[in-house]
Symmetry: C2
Subunit: 129 residues, 2 copies
């Protein structure tokens, strides 16, 4: 049967409202998509290794995202098993490389090691209006 492994739903709503950038932003805005691309950045990985690399994420979602990415043409399944980036996918990853540097810079400016964690209703008295 078809099932739902295909990727659950595929468009929050205003994804491909015209500009392809929206569709891309939507695809990338799913939970493990960016992480998967990142882990695949320089070497192909098997489904298992990818799972390990992604901190033991559920195979369900991993599979769904992998299908999404494969369908989008950013990732493909190699011969002897294992996922790898397509040329287009590699270009996409290249785009994120500057993120690495920015992340370092970001850590320095962001003083919260764990980004607070709960609703900010208590920690901050009504600082607005």
């Amino acid at each position: 049967m078809a099932k739902q492994a295909g990727s659950t739903t595929r468009s929050v709503r205003g994804s491909r409202t015209g500009r392809p950038i929206m569709a891309l932003l939507d695809l990338l805005g799913r939970r493990w998509t960016l992480r998967i691309l990142w882990e695949l950045r320089d070497a192909p990985l098997t489904s298992r290794s990818l799972r390990t690399a992604c901190d033991e994420a559920s195979p369900t979602v991993l599979q769904a995202r992998l299908d999404d990415l494969r369908e989008a043409g950013f990732v493909e399944l190699g011969e002897g098993g294992g996922y790898r980036l397509t040329p287009l996918g590699r270009d996409l990853c290249e785009t994120f490389m500057p993120l690495h540097r920015l992340a370092e810079r970001w850590k320095s400016s962001s003083p919260s090691p764990r980004l607070r964690g709960e609703g900010r209703g208590e920690g901050e008295p009504p600082r607005r209006r």
Copy 2:
């Protein structure tokens, strides 16, 4: 619980497992984060306008993401109301600019205007092993 507007949970699991890039990837991998940054890319927007720009996304999530981004230091609330990018947020956005071009290229190579939509089981005969 107290609330949930703070941003619901804040870390899928292995977010900031060490490298800040993971935390950043996790933050960016939430549903409207990338879209918000994109819409804010060249002009500040009010909460309302942002909602409109983001295809009438729920104010709940928009608020949560906005809080996330503000807390992360990428977005801030201006004087007369309205959200705008911080210098760091602007740098982050700059990173995504090449994505616009890539998205166009991607549309051309991806023949599916709506990415199929259901399970991928049919289009491909057992392409496994």
